[in-house]
C-alpha cells in the first residue's frame, strides 16, 4: 500500500507536468488551429536557457524570469508571426509540417551547437524526503505537483473569470462572432501564444531536475503532452489536466506492476482505448463537422 501511494504521488507529479505542456498545446489549437509538433522543443529550449543563464551566475528565479521574457518574444510572438500566421491561411497541414521541421532543426541545433550530453539541472525545491503516514515522498514530487496544479488551475481561472480570458475563449469558440462583439481577435490569439510560451518555461523549470537537460528531452515530453491533451479532450482545457494526470499515474503504476520497459507505450494504449470508447476525450465535447 505504501508503495502504491508513493507511486501515485510521483505519478501525479509527472502527470501534472504533462498537463502543463499539454495545456499550452490545447490553448494554441483552440485559439488558432495551430498544432505545434515542436511543443517538446518549446520546453527543451527554455531548460537550456535557464541553465545557461544560471551558469552566468544569475540566481535561479532571475534566470527563470529572464527566460520567460525571452520565450514570450521568441517562442510566442516570433513563432506566431514567423510560422503560424503565414501558414494557417492554407490549412492545418502546413503548420504540422513546419513545426516538425522546426523540432528537428531546434533539437539538432542544440546538439551540434551546445552539447549532446545530459546536463544536471538545479531544482527549486531541493531533494529532501518526507515521511507522511509511512509513505516516503520527495520534496521535488510534492513541490512539482503543487506548482503545476497552481499553474494549470490558475490558467483555468484566468480563462474562466477574467475579461481577457473569456475573450480568449470566445475567440476559440467562434472567431467570427468574437469580432462582431468587438473582441480584438489577433490580440487574443497572441495572448494564447504568449501563455503557451510561459507554460513551456514553467514546465522546463519543473521537469528538468528529473529529466536532465538534454537535446532530445522534448521528444518524449512532447509526445506525452499531445496524449494528455487528446485523452482529456482536445477542445477542453480542464480535460488536459485530467488527461495528463491519468497518463502520469497509469505510466507509473504500469512501470511498477506490469513492465518497466513498456512505460512509454502506456500513453498510446490509453489513447487508443479512449478513442474507441469515448472518441471526444474524457471531458471533451463532440465536434460537429462544418461544411
Amino acid at each position: 500500500m505504501a508503495d502504491f501511494l508513493q507511486l501515485l504521488v510521483s505519478g501525479l507529479a509527472t502527470g501534472s507536468i504533462y498537463a502543463l505542456a499539454g495545456l499550452g498545446f490545447t490553448l494554441l489549437w483552440q485559439a488558432s488551429g495551430t498544432l505545434n509538433f515542436a511543443q517538446g522543443e518549446f520546453v527543451m529550449l527554455p531548460a537550456f536557457g535557464i541553465l545557461a543563464l544560471s551558469g552566468l551566475g544569475l540566481p535561479l528565479p532571475v534566470a527563470f524570469a529572464v527566460t520567460c521574457a525571452v520565450a514570450v518574444v521568441v517562442l510566442g510572438w516570433g513563432f506566431k508571426r514567423g510560422i503560424a500566421d503565414p501558414l494557417l491561411r492554407s490549412g492545418h497541414m502546413p503548420v504540422v509540417v513546419a513545426t516538425l521541421g522546426l523540432s528537428i532543426a531546434l533539437r539538432n541545433a542544440v546538439r551540434a551547437g551546445y552539447s549532446a550530453e545530459a546536463h544536471p539541472f538545479p531544482s527549486v525545491f531541493g531533494d529532501d524526503l518526507f515521511h507522511i503516514a509511512g509513505v516516503v515522498v520527495t520534496r521535488i514530487d510534492l513541490g512539482t505537483l503543487a506548482a503545476a496544479l497552481v499553474l494549470v488551475l490558475g490558467t483555468q481561472a484566468f480563462l474562466a473569470r477574467t475579461v481577457t480570458g473569456r475573450a480568449m475563449q470566445a475567440v476559440a469558440q467562434d472567431p467570427d462572432s468574437a469580432v462582431v462583439v468587438g473582441i480584438d481577435v489577433p490580440r487574443m490569439i497572441l495572448y494564447a501564444f504568449a501563455v503557451n510560451a510561459v507554460l513551456a518555461c514553467a514546465a522546463a523549470l519543473l521537469v528538468t531536475p528529473t529529466y536532465l537537460a538534454k537535446f532530445d528531452m522534448g521528444e518524449s515530453l512532447g509526445t506525452k503532452a499531445f496524449f494528455a491533451a487528446v485523452i482529456g479532450g482536445f477542445n477542453n482545457a480542464r480535460g488536459t489536466l485530467l488527461g495528463g494526470i491519468v497518463v502520469g499515474v497509469c505510466e507509473n503504476l504500469a512501470a511498477a506492476y506490469v513492465s518497466a520497459s513498456y512505460k512509454d507505450a502506456v500513453a498510446l494504449a490509453l489513447f487508443l482505448f479512449v478513442l474507441l470508447v469515448r472518441p471526444q476525450g474524457l471531458l471533451g465535447k463532440p465536434v460537429e463537422r462544418r461544411v
Binding site: 516538425l100 528537428i104 496524449f227 507505450a265 498510446l268
Partner: protein, 320 residues
Amino acid sequence: MTRRSHWLIGGAAAVVLLGAPGLLRGYGVYLLGYWLVFVVATMGLNLTVGYAGQVSLGHAAFLGVGAYSVAIAMKAGCSFWLGLPVAAALCFVLGLGLGFPALRVQSIYLAFATLGFNVAMWLVMRNEEWLTGGTSGINDVGRPAVLGWSLSGSLAYYYFELAVAAVLGALLWRLLRSPWGKAFTALRDNPIRAESLGIDVQAYTLLAFAIGAAYAGVAGALFAGLVQFVEPTPFSLGASFLMYLMVVVGGAGSFFGPAVGAAVGVLLPEWLRFAQGWYLVAFGACVVLLVRWLPGGLLGIPDRVRARRARAAAATRGRP
C-alpha cells in the same frame, strides 16, 4: 509538362539508374540501394500523405516491422520469399488496426496514433530480446536468390531492389489512375464533397493508410537484405519525422516526389558529410522555409516557373 519532356526525363533517369552503379565503387552502390529502400517506403507514405491527405508519423515503425519480419523469418530458416509477403501483409493488418480507431474521430488523430505506435514498436524491438535480439539486433541476414541466380553481390542486389521499386511504382501508378485512385484524390481535395458523391471516406482513407504501410513493409524487407543487420536505431520516431518530411520536400501528391525527397533525405547528407550535425539543422530550417514559400515541394518548382512565364507572357500580350 509536355509528354515529350516526360519521356526524356524518364529515359535519362532510367539510363542513370541502370548505368551509374557500374561506374560506382561498393559504397556508392550501397548508398543507391539505401536510397531505393527509402524511395519504396516514401512511395507508400506519399499515398497516405499526398493522395489521401493524412499525417502519418509512424512510417519508420512499419519499415522496422518489415525488416524484422524478414530477418526473423530467415533466422528461423524460412526463405526470403516467404518473409517478404509476410512483411507486407503484417504491415497492412497493423495499419488497418491502428488506422481504424484513429480515423473514426478526426483525421489529425492519425498523427497521434502513428506517433504513439512508433514509440511502442520501438520499445518492442528494443526489449523483446528473444524475438528481436534487443539492442544488439539480428546479424548476418542473408540475401535471397532469384531462379537460382544469387543476389548476394552488391550490384545484383541493387538491380533486384530497382526491379522491386519499378514494379511497386507501376502498381501505384495503375492504382492512382483507377477509379479507386481517383477516389483517394477526391477525398483529399474535398472530403465532404467526396462523401456526398458516395465515396466512403473512412474506408478509403483507412485503405490508403494500410496500403502505404504495406509498401513500408516491403521496403523494410529490402532494407534487411541490403544492410544484413537489423537493430532498432533506424526505426525511431525521429526517422518517421524525417520520412514524412522527405515526402513533403519532394512534393506530397506528386508521383516522383518520393524519389526526390528520399534523395534529399538519404543521398544529400552523404555529400554534405562535413556539415555533420548541422545538416539536420539546415534540413529542418529548409522545411520551414519550403512550406512557407514552396508549398508544392521541390517538384512544384517547374509548375511555378511555368505559371510565372505564362503570367509574363499574358502581360506582354495584354500590352498594346
